[in-house]
Symmetry: C2
Subunit: 485 residues, 2 copies
């Protein structure tokens, strides 16, 4: 890319958040548009970030007893139609294959928008006995949902995700699994991505098409909008009955299995951008950053060779210590240009090395997450570089989480009545929390008035709850509302 492109400042986040988001994603090299409507390309820097996220989640999915598998991309129309709610939910946004070569297909095939139907039809053949249960399978795959309005990572016609699909002997086991995976998501997103989430249940109107109950983890973006970061569904026996997934139980009675499904997607990359980024671009959580340290030599004509050699040596030492690192040795660019470039790309730590540092056997380490110049930079003896980098990466991970949590908490406001609710949604956005005893119609009314939706009924509830902020009726739980992506 041409140098001028990077010299140009990003649109400030506070001025136009949407524009800032798009510029950051494009210019940091996370993704790019394509000629195919609604489809993006995930560029190497963005894909490496996704690989690190995927690996961190995959370890957790396997540690909880699941295995990966791969199911077909295609869902025959007849199969998709078997579950009425499911097809209503997904058919309007399905991409349909009608021809193979020059031959028209006898039956149209949907590109999977999600795989409950195709997997359900296969599980029906695999499961016969209670001994075959539980079935604990996950899939990493691409899915397609044709979207009218798209946004890089957050809403694209094709996206990457994982979808877990499990079968159990009892309702209780399925419910336990549903909540276990919700907990895995919360732990993954908070620990690895440094994004605090509220775990809770979706209302009837917001639940997954075909599910008995949907649980969600909801995050708050820096513009005050909520992002659904992952969902876990207790499917009950809906799909089991439709696809005939039955087992002979120990008591010799044939029963339908109880199912769950759960997924997170590449939209989480957008979440990282929107939660942590600043006016200079990305700030990536060290645990998933493609590059954790960038080594930049500050070259003078006199000491050129020695400084370049030292920069290479520092980079090699970091790499040998298992730190994901790069050295930017391009001599056609100035150090200042490189600082901006790697700040834009969100690298947590910058190692600057120049002749003065070398004379003092020190390196300069600058933190991406701090902006105060005095706090940001530290001069460290070279022989303590590795341990300092390790410590700072941990500190940054924690600092990013704490900052995001503080922001979330400051932007979570409790209301007692609808006037307050409307006022806050209009003026301040964020999460608005209140006692809730409303209906689906009430939710629709609120959405029409304010564009806010019921994000979740949190798992953690207060001991006592006042009357419903909307209906005034006695309520026994609070709910989170927000405008959302």
């Amino acid at each position: 890319m041409a140098e001028k492109e990077f010299a140009q400042k990003l649109t400030p986040k506070s001025q136009d958040f949407s524009q800032w988001y798009v510029e950051t994603v494009l210019r940091a090299g996370l993704a790019d548009y394509t000629d195919i409507k609604g489809c993006m390309v995930i560029r190497p820097y963005g894909y490496t970030l996704w690989e690190n996220m995927r690996d961190a989640l995959d370890r957790r999915i396997k540690a909880t007893g699941h295995e990966n598998a791969y199911f077909p991309l295609f869902v025959p129309e007849s199969l998709l139609k078997l579950e009425a709610e499911h097809v209503q939910g997904f058919a309007p946004e399905c991409a349909w294959v009608t021809y193979a070569g020059n031959d028209e297909l006898e039956e149209r095939l949907a590109i999977r928008p999600t795989s409950e139907a195709i997997i359900g039809s296969i599980y029906a053949r695999w499961i016969q006995s209670y001994r075959d249960l539980p079935v604990l399978i996950n899939q990493w795959a691409n899915v397609v949902r044709w979207e009218k309005r798209t946004r890089l990572f957050l809403r694209t016609s094709e996206f990457l995700w994982q979808e877990g699909h499990t079968c159990h002997r009892t309702y209780e086991e399925a419910q336990e699994e549903t909540l276990r995976m919700l907990g895995v998501y919360k732990d993954f997103i908070e620990t690895e991505l440094a994004i605090p989430v509220v775990a809770g249940q979706k209302s009837e109107s917001e639940k997954f098409a075909g599910a008995q109950m949907t649980y969600t983890v909801e995050a708050l973006m820096a513009d005050g909008l909520a992002l659904q970061a992952g969902t876990s569904h207790n499917l009950g026996q809906h799909f089991a009955k439709v696809f005939g997934i039955k087992f002979l139980d120990e008591d010799n009675v044939e029963k339908y299995v109880w199912q769950t499904s759960w997924g997170v997607s590449t939209r989480l990359v957008g979440g990282i951008v929107m939660v942590h980024g600043d006016d200079n671009g990305l700030i990536l959580p060290p645990r998933v950053a493609p590059c954790q340290t960038i080594v930049i030599p500050v070259i003078t004509t006199e000491h050129r060779a020695a400084v370049l050699e030292k920069a290479r040596a520092l980079h090699a030492a970091l790499a040998a210590a298992g730190i994901r690192t790069r050295a930017d040795l391009d001599e056609s660019k100035s150090p200042g240009w490189k600082y901006n470039e790697w700040d834009l790309r969100g690298v947590p730590l910058r190692i600057e090395i120049g002749p003065k540092d070398m004379a003092k056997n020190q390196v300069c380490i600058a933190r991406r997450d701090l902006s105060d110049r005095a706090q940001k930079k530290a001069f460290i003896p070279e022989d303590r570089m590795i341990e300092t980098v390790r410590r700072l990466l941990d500190e940054i991970q924690t600092a990013l989480f704490n900052r995001a949590r503080d922001f979330r908490d400051q932007n979570t406001r409790t209301v007692a009545n609808y006037a307050q609710f409307r006022d806050i949604i209009e003026s301040q956005r964020g999460f608005v929390v209140g006692p809730w005893a409303g209906s689906a119609d009430d939710e629709a009314k609120i959405k029409e008035d304010t564009k806010a939706t019921l994000r979740c009924i949190p798992l953690e509830q207060p001991a006592s709850v006042g009357p419903c902020f909307f209906t005034g009726r006695p309520a026994n739980r609070i709910a989170y509302f927000a405008r959302a992506y």
Copy 2:
């Protein structure tokens, strides 16, 4: 699955290789058929094998300077049609999306059969200057080629693969990359999968649609048929000219880039089955086996608890040593049944533990790859189990490779004339090697006569070559022929 299914013997390999293959794949749990024509499901055991293969290759791809990215699933028809040879090669087997929801698309979209067209159109925007080169990107993805006749793993309408797509400044760099990645494939397939391959160049008639030159690694299956195990293409400037992938060179002249692409797919899983398996099922190379050791307790009523506890302890010790291991503690199955089951699934080493072994502080270790009973089993002091397992896994990996190489060498036959050629292809199959100076028409004639195709012109050539076995004309190189999958 019901016990009887496993009690039943596989069709012997020597009796009906095709039937043996299908039964082995299905009953070992590698894959299963689905209701969607030509599409299979890769079951957890097969997918874990693929994950291990993918990780081993991905490390090599990254070590040679490539990064992963993700490009769209869809190729607009107009884009696919730009390169004439390419569309002729792939359009007949493309799956076409014509509707999104209820709306007919203005332009049909092919599900990618390969991604040269989509990636080329994107590279055209990314590349401006010689400073942007080389571009070294790989993608792990699903692709669709609608096949009339399918076979589990070997030929399915949808399959998983990686496809590398690189751009270079000069022809020489592109050619070097093409051969580098062919070398990576050879190393990966021989080292990790224990499958010896012949590396060589494809003839004009067998090369990739749109490539200037195609290189291949060819393996020989146990039934004497060849399997194309991976290909690497020097694309020249064909796609660059069609998609306008240009760069301003250091001399200020605008030039087209030189490209390569290269891929291997899940068909390699089929190769592992067909090269190493025997009448009892799979034999998996230890380096990629999902499970390297299976611990099986030999329980007596008297010592039940102690033996189970010891089996668990051995399993834990193996896992702690980083060995991929399982313990089969199912008390509803006999040890003998389990031996057959885990033999079928190709686990390299079985650890048997019973009261007698415990009394002697020993374990019994049985090798899957040997059938002679005396050689197969060894009793090892328990405190030497880990080191012995490590050593045996290495030995098995080497032994499988050597056995496959010996088989390949014994089934590679040199011919001087076409009568010999036909006789060997008809009676013995295998690789048939001879001096070659024929044309594409000659290849077609040979294929019509014998179903054998020119597999490759090997990179390693003898010092002198006799006259062409088919045309009798002077030849300057030898070629490998075989019937192939």
